[in-house]
Point group: C2
Chain length 341, copies 2
């Protein structure tokens, strides 16, 4: 295991981000060398071939492995809920955490169905972030602490980590982060979240626009954006992305909130998300736009918008299939199959 550096402030995180390890090109080459020998027409497994190589590259290991996929769902509460941006009250965050812990939520069933381990992490739920229309959501110390928590949560024995969240109000934070990072019209970054109507979305966009305007001159990079407009669960996801990189664990991001949390990192190191795939594109409209900005393609589109890492975990089926095909298929020589004319 890599030794985790000391982290007390966001500047410590900035330092770590400048020194991220790169891809394992030897593992990548080994994957590339085996692929054409397997008993199938060249390229016919399409994306599965790329996923196998990507897994090896970011696990820093050949052959790649997909025996221990894990999901982390981070939960946090948001002061901005006071502005009426959500269809559900803040207490639902804690109630849903209890639901995760008793096995009753969607993510529990999907993890069981796909053979993925589930860890639920409560981020100081009794202490919501500040309402960002009044104060920055977090102090530097609070934000750094949540990031550190996310970094430490990653187990280097994981073959992939799926990063999801639960937090009433957090699609508002995600929209504010995207507006701060990429600009544009606040309305294009805002969606129904848990199910608000059109007029409420107008109000949500106002809240988002106001937050971004308030801290514009204080936000020099993505970590400032995260601190001013994010939430503890989002900071933990950003931290988990960093921790996974240091521990050679590939990352599967989930929907809008999960991806927005990760999106604060490339402003500091443009290669910071190279070890991340996005499991699905959410029905929350900002997600598609965010993926375009990041230059990432989602692996699936099932019109889902639940969060909880559900879309990320669904994509583990693909990773398992990809790695199994790459590692365990017979070669043309082994199977005695006549090669192409």
């Amino acid at each position: 295991m890599n030794k985790m550096p000391t982290i007390n402030t966001l500047d410590d995180i900035r330092q770590i981000l400048t020194e991220l390890p790169g891809p394992d090109l030897e593992a990548a080459r080994a994957a590339q060398a085996r692929e054409p020998q397997l008993t199938k027409p060249a390229g016919s497994l399409g994306r599965l071939e790329q996923l196998a190589a990507w897994t090896a590259t970011w696990q820093g290991r050949y052959p790649p492995r997909m025996k221990t996929p894990n999901a982390h769902v981070f939960a946090g509460n948001h002061g901005v809920v006071a502005q009426g941006v959500s269809a559900f009250p803040s207490e639902v965050t804690k109630q849903m955490v209890a639901n995760f812990e008793s096995g009753g939520a969607a993510i529990n069933q999907i993890c069981k169905a796909l053979g993925v381990g589930l860890c639920v992490e409560q981020m100081d739920l009794d202490n919501p972030t500040q309402d960002f229309t009044e104060n920055p959501a977090m102090t530097d110390t609070e934000c750094a602490e949540a990031i550190r928590f996310g970094m430490n949560v990653i187990d280097e024995a994981s073959d992939v980590v799926c990063l999801g969240e639960m937090g009433i109000g957090n699609t508002t934070s995600a929209a504010a982060i995207c507006l701060a990072l990429y600009g544009g019209n606040a309305l294009t970054w805002v969606g129904p979240g848990t199910g608000i109507d059109k007029p409420a979305m107008g109000k949500k966009a106002e809240v988002v626009g106001l937050g971004v305007k308030l801290y514009k001159s204080h936000m020099q990079d993505g970590l400032d954006v995260l601190r001013c407009l994010g939430g503890r669960e989002m900071a933990a996801i950003a931290g988990a992305v960093i921790g996974a990189r240091l521990k050679q664990v590939p990352v599967m991001l989930d929907g809008y909130v999960s991806t927005a949390a990760a999106a604060v990192l490339p402003s500091i190191n443009k290669r910071a998300l190279d070890h991340c795939k996005v499991g699905h594109v959410s029905a929350e409209p900002g997600h598609k736009l965010l993926l375009e900005k990041l230059g990432k393609n989602a692996l699936q589109d099932h019109n889902m918008r639940l969060g909880e890492a559900t879309g990320a975990v669904l994509a583990v089926g693909l990773l398992k299939a990809a790695v199994a095909c790459h590692n365990d298929m017979a070669t043309f020589a082994e199977a005695g199959i006549t090669d192409k004319d």
Copy 2:
């Protein structure tokens, strides 16, 4: 188990097709009634919600079940290979069947990864269909026999069946079937198959066009098209689609060849494929066009074009997740979660 009717001729199949059972609307209503009670924002599981209801509807059972998914890969040989339409010689069909049986092919690994049973069915491999540029591919009796075989192969204990194929030359048959069913330019239905180049695709399109022209006046419906231009593995897939309907087993189609085989049925009963989903859209270009003609959306797009039921089996991960969420999630009342404002 439903009693299987006597089948000796294609007219016997036509008769069966006119009497297919419809959806179980009671199971559909039960699924619709439970969905809004589950602990998630309404509609937030998107396609998974629809898949759970679809499974119940066509299993004719509530709650739906996804414990015993099975895949059937039908293999057949094609006389039209003599026209130089494939990058691989006909003997590869048998060699790949041996590879399936020894566990070395892609479909073996994907079935293992997703927990799906695999049955491989050899359709008289030493006796290829006739070269359809010279004679109809099959006689009425041969075609009916292969369809009956496919019907009988379906086990009513399957919770879903994934239908795939292996057969050197069969994308040529698929293209010919599509051209016969839907018209258009032969080139738009032809693709690289196992990996032929552009000039070879031109030749393949000529072969396809010639076949369709030869039997145009003899083909009154889709079963005639199947007999004149198809293959035994494709007839077996068409039969498996029918058998699954009679035994209340939902069907997951695979790529271009699998879908083309099923596509011969709606000309006789336009509801014949209502119990079928399509697991993925193939990179073989005709598949996308065929799905448009059938009015079906594929569940995934991973740029795959291998066949063997690989894309269909990958989609079983979605079905498992969908059914698990529907059946096992807590309701708002059970979890004591505050409802929407």
